[in-house]
């Protein structure tokens, strides 16, 4: 029934074409599931290294509201946010660029009834599904290591998906401006400092005024604040602002990406 409706209705009314792209990616990765699964290990290695090793050197941390937590419990939510960022960026930059420029996948897809917006929603949905699986596994590891101290942690997974959404949208939009693989150095140039300095390894209060302000406007910082609040249970209304920031970034990215894809491929 649904298929008949999809075929009879005129194209613009047929929303949700992105699911075909999700199905396509699913079929593709069924054959290389080892690569897929192994993506989960990297953040866990970081968590173990810093949570077991460096934590013994640091001792415990006192948060801004006066509570004291173990260093591992401080770093773990930041690792969760960073891995959500990394996964989304990888899927939405390298993979998209390859499909766009070399595999010419989108040229063939746009020859079907699918539109650029379907490309954007489909690829972003795929990145989010994949990221959600990794994040869920990571949260389970945190639980097993005793690094979760609040029921608010139930929101850690949706928050990770939101971080993924923000970076997948932004990454995809930026990818449409890339000229060659060399340009991906700029992606590294943005990602690595965020990973190292966005209050991931120590509190943002460590920085002097102007630098602190610079850190606070990065999207990863927004994500780290969200995740840390949920896993430690220090929740307040201001978190909504961080969530809105991420949602807006992702939506704007997807809009730019679909506009650019249309311009590049449907000339």
């Amino acid at each position: 029934m649904a298929t008949i409706a999809a075929r009879v209705l005129p194209v613009p009314v047929r929303l949700g074409g992105g699911r075909h792209l999700v199905e396509r990616n699913f079929l593709l990765y069924r054959r290389s599931w080892v690569v897929f699964i192994s993506g989960f290990f990297e953040p866990v290695f970081y968590l173990l290294s810093i949570g077991i090793g460096v934590a013994q050197l640091v001792g415990s941390f006192t948060l801004s509201d006066g509570t004291t937590i173990a260093y591992a419990a401080f770093v773990a939510p930041a690792m969760l946010a960073s891995s959500a960022m990394n996964g989304a960026i990888f899927d939405s930059t390298y993979n998209i660029f390859f499909r766009m420029k070399y595999a010419k996948l989108y040229d063939s897809i746009l020859a079907t009834p699918l539109r650029p917006w379907d490309l954007a929603t489909g690829e972003v949905t795929w990145a989010l599904l994949r990221g959600a699986i990794y994040s869920a596994m990571f949260i389970l590891v945190m639980l097993a290591m005793g690094l979760v101290s609040s029921w608010w942690a139930l929101l850690a997974l949706p928050a990770a998906v939101l971080i993924g959404f923000a970076f997948a949208g932004a990454g995809m939009a930026l990818t449409t401006f890339m000229r060659s693989w060399q340009d991906f150095e700029f992606v590294q140039l943005a990602i690595m400092p965020m990973f190292l300095f966005s209050a991931t390894f120590y509190p943002v209060e460590t920085y002097p005024g102007a630098i602190r302000w610079l850190v606070e406007i990065t999207p990863l910082y927004q994500g780290v604040v969200l995740e840390r609040a949920f896993t430690t249970g220090t929740v307040d209304w201001f978190l909504l602002v961080h969530a809105l920031y991420l949602a807006a970034l992702g939506t704007f990215g997807m809009y730019v990406a679909s506009r650019r894809l249309g311009k590049l491929l449907l000339k």
């Binding site: 080892v34 690569v35 290695f45 077991i52 090793g53 460096v54 013994q56 150095e185 190292l196 120590y202």
Partner: protein
Amino acid sequence: MALAVENGRRMFDYWLTVYKRTWKGTMITSFLLPMLYLAAMGIGLGSFVDSNGTGALGGVSYLQFIAPGLLASTALQIAVGEATYPVMSGLKWQKFYHSMIATPLRPADVVYGQLGFIAFRVLSSCAVFLVIIALFGGLDSPLGVLGLPVALLVGMAVASPIAAFATTLENDSGFAMVFRFGVVPAFLFSGAFFPVSQLPNWIEWLAYVSPLWHAVDLSRGLSLGTVNPWLALGNLVYLLTWFLVGTWLAVRGFTRRLIG
């Protein structure tokens, strides 16, 4: 022997010509990334470690503790990078190795030239990084300069077996595994960021197997002036063994892949 050196030199010349066109792209991964790690971990996190007492680190600041470790890790990462995709490209994608052995060059010369270029990359990048470390105040003693030859050695100890491994692959998905289960855990658990004695016993033993631990141990001993000559000799022999066996395997792999 003289022929091998002469042929290897010609191969190296080829790589330098290529590098003259591509060096800009390597700046970020070679210098900026380790420098950012040095700043974030050494200075940022270091202030918390140091305020917690430096007893566990043998009385030096956290920056001075991780600097030799980061130098060795940087060498490892550059070497692995140069021994994976470029080798695959020469064998499979661009096939420039095939054109090389159509000249009087033999597969062994191709290997020596390739390894020579990796040595050049590791040495030049690590020399600059060492200067940066010194400017940050990360060197505890002038002997820390000896971390440079150690960095070169660990680079070669991993580059040669990985180049050999690359000759056995049909596509690059094997490299993802090398990075995920080799390079990243080595980086995180080889004592660069904390003493490996803090690890659970079985992981501690895994760390001793990793060539990176031997390089970190050696260059930290030199930099902090706590080096034990017998242990240092053991580190050196272990790294040299990896390099020599790796080179032998690489020559065999290249020969099999290029001539059959």
